[in-house]
Symmetry: none
Subunit: 78 residues, 4 copies
């Protein structure tokens, strides 16, 4: 649980918020700039956290639009 890097910790925090149902399907997660301010990390670190969540299928990132909770499809585990 106690991830060793900043981006893993941030990803874990976001994962919890997602699992708690904080974000609705059409509602974007916080922007990179917002997370940057909120967590006091660089944008790069925010992007790595989001990238990690995208790679594991938790979120979907859309250029120019934002990050969204992934919707279940035929491969969905949940």
């Amino acid at each position: 649980m106690s991830a060793t890097t900043a981006y893993e910790r941030l990803a874990a925090t976001l994962r919890e918020r997602i699992e708690a149902g904080e974000f609705q399907p059409a509602m974007p997660l916080p922007s990179e700039a917002r997370l940057q301010e909120e967590h006091g990390v660089s944008r790069n670190t925010v992007r790595r956290a989001y990238r990690l969540l995208e790679d594991e299928g938790t979120i979907v990132i859309r250029h120019g639009a934002g990050a969204f909770v992934a919707q279940p499809d035929s491969d969905a585990t949940a």
Copy 2:
């Protein structure tokens, strides 16, 4: 001399500052974000102005580094 569009006017202003020798070779011109604030224009306007200056060979834009006064080389127009 009185350009008709916002980006042409901004380009003209920057051209004057360059010709006045305000920027040293290794010193970048103001960033897009800075010009946006200083002139109260949109980022698109700033980008068009810089693009215009680059197209005419006045400046060189380096991705991730900034805009710089073009150095005279064999292709120099001036």
Copy 3:
């Protein structure tokens, strides 16, 4: 073939060198610092290129040791 980003172009170049058999199994590919100098890009760009090649299974990166051509295993396509 003409990739649009710097890291994709660098990855393509490295892929060709690998396929041409330039690197032996135990011989590391050029270090990040070396590629940085050779190609005039930032270390970040070099890392993204190597990361891309690692993700596609072309190379294996070992912390503190270097990048190596991936050895065929049971999942190998070639």
Copy 4:
């Protein structure tokens, strides 16, 4: 005063420069790479020296940003 190890001697030198007020609050101390060159020592030695100064509360090290003179707070020893 004559420290027995290389890193203690380097730390002592840096401590003197700090106490002489050579570094302003927002100005980072020399980077590890720079000290390495200037003093002709290994990176490990530099890192140990900085670690020692951080442990005694003289400096604060910020990952990716540099080493800074510690600002007095409620926990200040001096």
